[in-house]
Amino acid sequence: MKKQTIDSKPAGPKPWYDPRVRSLFFQVVAIAAVFWAGWTLVENTLSNMESRGISTGFGFLEETAGFGIIMSLVPYDATMSYGRTFWVGLTNTLLVSAMGIIAATLLGFIIGVARLSSNWLVAKVSLFYIEVIRNIPLLLQIFFWYFAVLGALPSPRQSIEMGGTMFLNNRGLYVPEPLTQDGFGLVWGAVLAAIAAVVGIRIWAKRRQLATGQIFPTFKVGVAILVLVPLLAYFVAGSPLEWDVPALKGFNFGGGITIIPELAALWLALSLYTASFIAEIVRSGILSVSKGQTEASKALGLPNGLTLRLVVIPQAMRVIIPPLTSQYLNLAKNSSLATAIGYPDLVAVFMGTTLNQTGQAVEVVAITMAVYLTISLSISLFMNIYNRAVAIKER
């Protein structure tokens, strides 16, 4: 503060002695140097590639890919373009990342809370889990789950059968696929109506509690509405759903939905690994809440569960969210280890096969980097918005 008053004296020094002018000058020079260096690098790369006869440009995205991919969320076959293989890889990466984040968060919170349990056994088992899992490299864990999952499962002809409709073997878990028929729109309508009703009941229950102090069992009633209303609509519409049941054809099962072991192994490994870090973050968050808060809550007569849910966790979230964001970012980036076990993620499909068939390393790597950057920034942005919502508001 004091320094600034000196700087802004009316009779300032000559421009080249003025710290502000000098700092501005050097910053402009530094930025120019960085830009010049960057431009020279790009220019160099392009001219070197041209002089060596290496194709450049993004035209390859239109060419026919011509290779197969085992799992795709968007329609794909070998006659489609490299642009399409990019989407297949991207959606597969997003799928396993999203599944991993959800599972790791749930598991991490449970273990983090259990780690602080007053029950000796529960606390020690959690501690053991955390210490073992987070100290083993993720790639090893992926291999372990992949080959443990595969090794334990029988071949397709000796599949484990569940009710004649679900089958489990070393090629994956085969479940029936629901095929919606005419009239299923009514069921979707019922689902929307049920959601609206539950939201309405929640608002009403909160108002009533504030006014009269009576607690309404919102959760139980909500679940009942969400299940019963669409179910009723389903039967009213005349059961407009058919099931495509998987069946053994030749070597493998056909029909239905397949969950491939690569996805299962990668999801398991990513979730379990990240959960061990999240557990520690949750523990530190809970420990950061002063013991007086718990004692005050007990004094009000709140049971343990409500104390945790209404008093401790909301305050702990402020400490938990920033490091939790990092873990989500790690998980999304670690999903690229998929390539080791043959899960067709972005790195395996696009930066692997596509790069190799086209040879356009610079373009493909640039696109892939841009994608991971976008995923990371999106997670970061979303978590920052959430963080702002739960941060302490000083009024």
């Binding site: 700092s23 050097f26 910053q27 020079v29 530094a30 140097a33 960085v34 010049w36 260096a37 960057g38 020279t40 690098l41 160099n44 070197n48 590639m49 002089s51 060596r52 006869g53 290496i54 194709s55 011509g66 290779f67 197969g68 991919i69 085992i70 070998a78 006659t79 080959f147 595969l150 090794g151 071949s155 070393n170 090629r171 054809k249 030749g250 070597f251 493998n252 056909g254 072991p261 690569e262 390539t339 080791a340 076990i341 043959g342 067709p344 395996a348 692997g352 096969t353 790069l355 190799n356 068939q357 086209t358 040879g359 390393a361």
Partner: protein
């Protein structure tokens, strides 16, 4: 402090970019001679083609191709350093100048030749893609593979051939794509797939790595042409010629009956073909920028093509591959080198 740091960083970056633009002016031969060794890209481990033994010595037919070039340039087949590369890494390593030549069972295709800035310097093994299956699935022919799950190594022509073959036959398949051939074999032996597909020579090598090689067999079908051979960067004709003609010298040597055992005696040969090959007549070496007796050194130190084949992949090796189409044209094969004259 921060400002000074960023300026220094900027300068360093800029000068780095400058250095990069002025490099690469020298020819590959000059670079190799200056380094004192040849930097050769090979597979990270494929029996018969390139694999380090327990003492760390690399052996295999692809390795011998590198050694032959080193023998021609330096008169020393040991003046080679090997860079193990995966299929995905190989072309970038060559394009960026990390290696001087690539000798890594790489298929010669139009796209690679025309758009990657590379030149294929010949063929040291004519291969074709085949299928390895578990005997207990009871299949005798690839046309019975409809619906099969197939393990493949990523970044190879194999992926495209497989898809083409199944599409042409109106059959379906499920591809499981692994990063390395090790992982591919592991996936196959864990039962993840019914079939493993690769070049036939590789299948023989991979089968020998299985816990029980007898449990698997190679189907008779060959679904593609895979001419494998050494690759160099485009734009350096002298180096391209050197690699191309070292290979041709080895093939011609076999045809003329010159071996590593009789190479010294052959220096006194009356046959003008042998004289040109051995460098006792003509100036074949000088035309390539190599010593006059480079042919003699290549054959004496590494051997002719037949010796190279028999030692690494031939019937007496664990791979046990017959010469087949890799026999000389004079023996009914297609191995045919242009004349040294």
């Amino acid at each position: 402090m921060n400002k000074t740091k960023s300026i220094v960083l900027g300068m360093a970056l800029a000068s780095g970019a400058f250095a990069a633009s002025s490099a690469m002016a020298a020819t590959t031969l000059e670079n190799v001679k200056e380094k004192g060794h040849l930097q050769c890209g090979v597979t990270s481990g494929l029996p018969g083609f390139s694999q380090p033994d327990e003492k760390g010595n690399w052996t295999g037919i692809d390795v011998d191709t590198c050694r032959a070039v080193a023998a021609a340039v330096f008169g020393d087949p040991k003046a080679v350093e090997f860079t193990p590369l995966t299929a995905k890494e190989r072309f970038t390593a060559l394009q960026s100048g990390e290696i001087d030549m690539l000798s890594r069972n790489t298929t010669w295709t139009l796209t690679r030749d025309a758009s990657l800035g590379l030149n294929f310097a010949g063929v040291n093994y004519y291969d074709g893609q085949g299928f390895l299956i578990n005997k207990d699935i009871g299949v005798d022919d690839a046309t019975q593979l409809d619906g099969a799950t197939v393990c493949i190594q990523s970044g190879t022509t194999t992926e495209l051939n497989l898809s083409d073959y199944f599409r042409a036959k109106g059959m379906e398949f499920k591809p499981i794509v692994f990063d390395t051939s090790e992982q591919t074999v592991q996936g196959f032996s864990a039962g993840r797939c019914d079939v493993l597909t690769s070049d036939r020579s590789q299948l023989a090598a991979l089968r020998s790595k299985l816990a029980d090689p007898e449990s698997a067999k190679i189907l008779p079908n060959t679904i593609s042409k895979e001419p494998l051979g050494p690759v160099v960067r485009q734009g350096d004709d002298q180096w391209f010629n050197i690699v191309k003609w070292v290979l041709s010298v080895q093939i011609n040597a076999e045809e003329l009956g010159v071996t590593s055992a009789n190479a010294d005696d052959m220096l006194k040969s009356d046959n003008p073909n042998v004289q040109r090959l051995m460098g006792t007549d003509g100036d074949m070496g000088a035309k390539l920028g190599l010593p006059a007796d480079f042919g003699h050194k290549v054959v004496k130190m590494v051997g002719n093509y037949g010796e190279m084949y028999d030692r690494n992949v031939g019937p007496d090796t664990p791979l046990g591959l017959d010469r087949g189409i890799n026999a000389l044209w004079t023996d009914g094969g297609i191995m045919y080198a242009p004349p040294v004259r």
